[in-house]
């Protein structure tokens, strides 16, 4: 019990200093990337479509861990050296961007054509229609799957331990390596991940409720 208590502080430190910031920054950057990728996919300009398809295909078609290794251990060969944390941010952002772009694309396509037409009819441009009419409604549709992505991301950040980011799971590994309490420390880390994700689910529920106020369905 003592070990559980003394190890709690470094674990939480890893959580607050790396795991959460990494998750949040990567998710925000990833979402921005995802919106543009989704728009490129549904654009009528062929070259945009191809670039978006290629990007999504590469990211979805290769393991996240391999991507992180290329960024952190591979690129220095080309003289590009990135510190662990920024490398993790880049890796996870690219990953979120690709997966979330499919969610956002589907959400945009789920908005009835009549909404585009009504926006057009009152004289809106494409980008005005998108910003004022389509995306606000698409946001509502995409909250459940995006919450899924975010929860997945929080747990995936444990992979950053393998590129030397001293996030929570790496702290657990380091402590366990000195006192051999593997089960205890890994279960402790697991419990903290679970608590975080539990609260995220609650936030998801609140968000859904808020966005549901304008629909009865």
């Amino acid at each position: 019990m003592d070990i559980a208590q003394t190890s709690l502080q470094p674990l939480l430190e890893g959580l607050v200093v790396f795991t959460l910031p990494l998750s949040i920054i990567a998710f925000i950057l990833g979402l921005i990337l995802a919106v543009f990728t989704a728009l490129a996919r549904i654009s009528t300009v062929k070259i945009f479509q191809w670039i978006a398809r290629f990007y999504v295909s590469i990211i979805r078609g290769t393991p996240l861990l391999v991507q992180l290794f290329i960024l952190f251990y591979g690129l220095p060969t080309l003289g590009i050296v990135i510190d662990p944390f920024p490398a993790a941010v880049i890796g996870f952002s690219l990953n979120v961007g690709a997966y979330a772009s499919e969610i956002i694309r589907a959400a945009i396509l789920s908005i009835p054509k009549g909404q585009w037409e009504a926006a057009q009819m009152i004289g809106m441009t494409y980008s005005q229609s998108l910003q004022r009419v389509i995306l606000p409604q698409a946001t509502r549709v995409s909250i459940p799957p995006l919450s899924n992505s975010f929860i997945g991301l929080v747990k995936d950040t444990s992979l950053a331990s393998l590129i030397l980011v001293t996030e929570m799971f790496r702290r657990a590994q380091e402590i366990a390596a000195t006192n051999y309490e593997f089960l205890l420390l890994y279960v402790e880390a697991a419990a903290i991940y679970w608590i975080i994700c539990f609260f995220l689910s609650i936030i998801q529920g609140r968000l859904e409720h808020r966005f549901d106020r304008y629909v009865t369905r």
């Binding site: 009835p112 009549g114 909404q115 009819m121 009152i122 004289g123 304008y214 629909v215």
Partner: protein, 246 residues
């Protein structure tokens, strides 16, 4: 007010409008009838350029746009501004209140100040009998109420021509009357209207002229009385028999 010359519209191999010529005067209420697939809705949508015609030209007010060559975007926007559409399925913005729905066009597109846009929207909503529903969301209203918001939203753009695409077709029968009444009031105010509808009673009572379309062409146009009692064309007669005008 509206002049249409040689208007064609093709969807791939399918020719939906096969050369429409039409003149509509200021203040006229024109009802377009015809069997489904006759092109009446497409004609209406072409007037607001929700469909881009394949060839021909449209003039509304002082704006002429010729579709036979590649049309500049500016010319499309200028023509679209002349009309406003009321949709069969209302197409209100569900994430905005009734008031916001009506204010959106004037603020975003016409660059009206919020105060002015709000005043205009409130006046119009009072006019269509929804002065007490300003802060409701569309889903909290009945179909008839939603469609009246749709009419107010279109009016807020101050168009030269109001276009109605089967405005009562999606409504429960008991809600049709309230929408038709609002349309009737607009007609009495002298607003130029083009209405695609199956409401023959409305056509009889309100229209200055009825146009019968079939297979992408205008078959016959005349005053409602004449159209309904002594149609000149056999196809018109068949259609009117089918829908049984009382």
């Amino acid at each position: 007010m509206i002049t249409i010359n040689g208007l064609h519209k093709q969807f791939g191999q399918l020719e939906v409008l096969k050369g429409i010529d039409l003149k509509i005067n200021k203040g006229q209420v024109v009802v377009v009838i015809g069997p489904s697939g006759s092109g009446k809705t497409t004609l209406l949508r072409c007037l607001n350029i929700l469909e881009v015609p394949t060839s021909g030209s449209i003039t509304i007010d002082d704006q002429t746009t010729d579709f036979s060559t590649k049309v500049p975007k500016k010319s499309v926007d200028a023509l679209r501004k002349k009309s406003a559409m009321v949709f069969q399925h209302y197409n209100l913005f569900p994430h905005m209140t009734v008031l916001q729905n009506v204010m959106e066009g004037p603020i975003i597109v016409k660059k009206l100040s919020k105060v002015d846009a709000r005043k205009r929207a409130e006046n119009l909503l009072v006019k269509v009998g929804l002065g007490d529903k300003l802060d409701f969301f569309p889903h909290q209203l009945s179909g008839g109420q939603q469609q009246r918001v749709g009419i107010a939203r279109a009016l807020a753009l101050e168009p030269k021509v109001m276009l109605f695409d089967e405005p009562t077709s999606a409504l429960d029968p008991e809600l049709v009357g309230e929408v038709l009444q609002v349309m009737k009031d607009l007609a009495d105010e002298g607003i130029t209207m083009v209405v695609v509808t199956h409401e023959m009673r409305f056509a009889k009572d309100v229209a200055d002229e009825v146009i019968f379309m079939d297979q992408g062409k205008i078959i016959e146009r005349s005053e409602p009385n004449e159209m309904f009692t002594q149609p000149k064309e056999e196809r018109t007669r068949q259609f009117l028999n089918l829908i049984q005008v009382h």
